[in-house]
């Protein structure tokens, strides 16, 4: 099978404007991945699927990773000559810089026809708040249908072009994305708005509460 560099070079010659870079994996597994950026992701995915030398027809695993904002402290050391003529002073200056976070979607691709793989591609969102849209690869590999829904549900990545993007594991009324690193658990998991609550609210509007409290026991649940 071709190396990831060869795949990248062929993709670049085919799609000259594509943003492609290789992310090296230092662990012994040596599963390096290809970071695909921009809007051409779906064409690139279709190329990977249809190319006769690769035939990555099997998208095994789709998952999200959350990389929150990181505070990076940089230390710069400067030497200042002493105006009094003594030895130069070494001054340390610490600057704080926020490296913006992003959400990442990882696809593990294999070829069933040629029995090779994996080729790992990743896509990254602009940030974690308002630029969270990525092109859906479900039109290329159907196996993304539920898995992208899961990433949408648990990480909050919006997949553009997904045929049925709804929450899948959490219920529809749920707020937030539990797999994000900064997710805070609610006090009460059990609460959810039910039709019953709406009925109660309606009833309140229709029948204003009586001026005097009712006799004890009358309102017992």
């Amino acid at each position: 099978m071709e190396s990831l560099e060869q795949i990248r070079d062929r993709l670049l010659s085919r799609y000259p404007g594509a943003e492609l870079s290789i992310l090296n994996n230092p662990s012994p597994s040596a599963q390096h991945s290809l970071v695909v950026g921009g809007s051409a992701a779906r064409e690139i995915a279709a190329f990977l699927r249809d190319d006769p030398a690769l035939q990555l027809d099997f998208c095994s695993n789709v998952t999200g990773v959350d990389w929150p904002d990181k505070e990076i402290v940089e230390t710069t050391r400067t030497t200042i000559p002493d105006p009094a003529g003594g030895p130069p002073k070494l001054v340390e200056q610490k600057t704080k810089r926020i490296q913006p976070g992003y959400l990442e979607v990882v696809y593990h691709l294999y070829s069933m026809a040629l029995k090779q793989g994996p080729v790992i591609i990743r896509m990254r969102t602009g940030n974690r708040t308002d630029q969270v849209t990525l092109p859906s690869l479900t039109p290329v590999w159907r196996s993304g249908e539920f898995q992208e829904r899961e990433v949408f549900d648990l990480f909050g990545v919006v997949f553009d072009g997904h045929p049925d993007l709804r929450r899948i594991l959490m219920w529809d009324e749920f707020k937030g994305h539990p797999m994000r690193k900064d997710y805070v658990e609610p006090d009460d998991y059990e609460w959810e708005p039910t039709p019953h609550d709406e009925v109660l609210a309606k009833a309140k509007a229709h029948y204003p509460a009586p001026a005097a409290p009712a006799a004890p026991g009358a309102n017992a649940k």
Binding site: P28, S29, T63, M112, R142, S143, F146, I168, M179
Partner: protein, 409 residues
């Protein structure tokens, strides 16, 4: 080693088109738009929406399908998940690598041994941890016993779903219990085995245990013969399953279907052969493939796979070396793999079970992801059910072989 990978299935006559009216069989992703019902005649009535589950006994747990019916024919079917969701992956991020090992038992609670192996394999890839040979053999033995157990149960459940109440399921459970007794003798627990470790396994198998396991494997063909005599040629089973829930090969590959379901559609892809993980390349076994991709093929593939598993078990017992079961350099306490990531997968009884791990150098994984085979196999449930009656949906679901502990995680 040259193995002929293909076993043709016999006795499944092709059914022309099934009973699916072609004009309503739109795939949800067909370019023509989703679920457009063309008018068939002036007598078609209102559609009926039926919510099946999550408490329906035939949904194998807390699974729910919202089926839209035209008469008894399914025109739309949407699965609903999440009733057993506990965010397993988040819990995995908040505990140590080893701390997740017992919890993987609870994913697919019928196949804890293969879940353990898949997780151990992924972590061993991440850390570059070698495994002693004896453990590799023990893993194969336990994985193949798990495959026997799972497929036997599935055959029982499938028959139960078709209405063969009780008897076939009890035959299957009788055999399953024998395997669970072996697991209990080895690991201390019938189902929640928690047996594998990174770079080895927890306890060694005694000669008595191996003798008992060998006896079970040798006697298993006899049980299968009995079971097949009861079931495989059964006219009602054939009528209910042949031509029902046909999955085309193209769709199966695109939808990421794995395991016996994929091979029933005729795609030769078995991770034991493709990846050759563990010591599988040393064994001589064949990969059964289906011709039609219908429910009957999916049943039959599992029966044939069980026979191959028995062959693997026999070879593994014969070749089992002596030696240590843990790599002496393996770390149990203070296990912190270097930063990086790894995806490890094995051929579980239900399909490809994989674990994707990202390490940031700490004691807990930064990201812990389970690739659940039965969840992804459910992607095509609607495609297989469209045009069939609601009673067939139960059998089609049964032939996918889901466990909700894994689907919902």
């Amino acid at each position: 080693m040259t193995n002929s990978p293909i076993v043709a299935l016999h006795g499944t006559p092709a059914v022309a088109g099934g009973n699916a009216p072609s004009e309503i069989c739109h795939s949800p992703l067909a370019p023509g738009g989703a679920h457009v019902r063309s008018v068939r005649d002036e007598f078609h009535g209102d559609l009926l929406e039926v919510s099946m589950g999550p408490h329906h006994p035939s949904t194998h747990g807390v699974f729910r399908m919202i089926a839209t019916l035209d008469g008894e024919t399914i025109v739309k079917l949407k699965p609903v998940f999440g009733y057993l969701h506990r965010n397993h992956e988040k819990i995995g991020e908040n505990t140590t690598y080893l701390g997740s090992m017992p919890y993987t038992d609870r994913l697919d609670y019928l196949c804890s041994m293969t879940n353990n192996w898949a997780y151990a394999l992924a972590v061993e890839k991440l850390a570059g941890q070698p495994v002693p040979e004896r453990t590799e053999y023990l893993r194969v033995i336990l994985a193949e016993l798990t495959r026997l157990l799972n497929h036997t149960c599935l055959a029982g459940f499938l028959l139960q779903d078709t209405g063969a109440s009780g008897t076939p399921l009890m035959y299957a459970f009788r055999e399953r219990e024998k395997i669970l007794d072996l697991f209990e003798a080895l690991s201390g627990s019938r189902m929640m085995c928690n047996y594998q470790r990174f770079g080895g396994c927890r306890v060694d198998a005694s000669p008595e245990w191996l003798e008992a396991a060998k006896r079970l494997a040798d006697g298993y063909n006899e049980f299968l013969d009995e079971y097949e005599a009861l079931i495989t040629g059964n006219e009602i089973l054939m009528a209910r399953t042949q031509g029902v829930g046909v999955m085309p090969r193209q769709l199966a590959v695109s939808a990421g279907i794995t395991g016996p379901m994929l091979r029933a559609a005729g795609v030769d892809y078995d991770i034991r052969k493709v990846d050759g993980y563990g010591v599988y390349p040393r064994f001589n076994f064949r990969v059964p493939l289906g011709d039609h991709g219908d429910t009957y093929d999916r049943y039959m593939i599992r029966v044939l796979e069980m026979r191959e598993s028995i062959e693997i078990l026999r070879q593994a017992f014969a070749q089992l070396p002596s030696g240590p079961i843990m790599d002496p350099k393996a770390k149990i306490r203070g296990f912190k793999p270097k930063p990086g990531e790894a995806y490890g997968r094995i051929e579980g009884p239900k399909g490809e079970i994989g674990f994707y791990l990202i390490s940031d150098g700490g004691a807990n994984p930064y990201r812990y992801r389970v690739r659940p085979p039965s969840f992804i196999n459910l992607t095509v449930l609607e495609d297989m059910c469209l045009g069939h009656s609601i009673a067939d949906a139960v059998i089609i679901l049964g032939s996918i072989d889901i466990v909700l502990g894994e689907v919902d995680r």
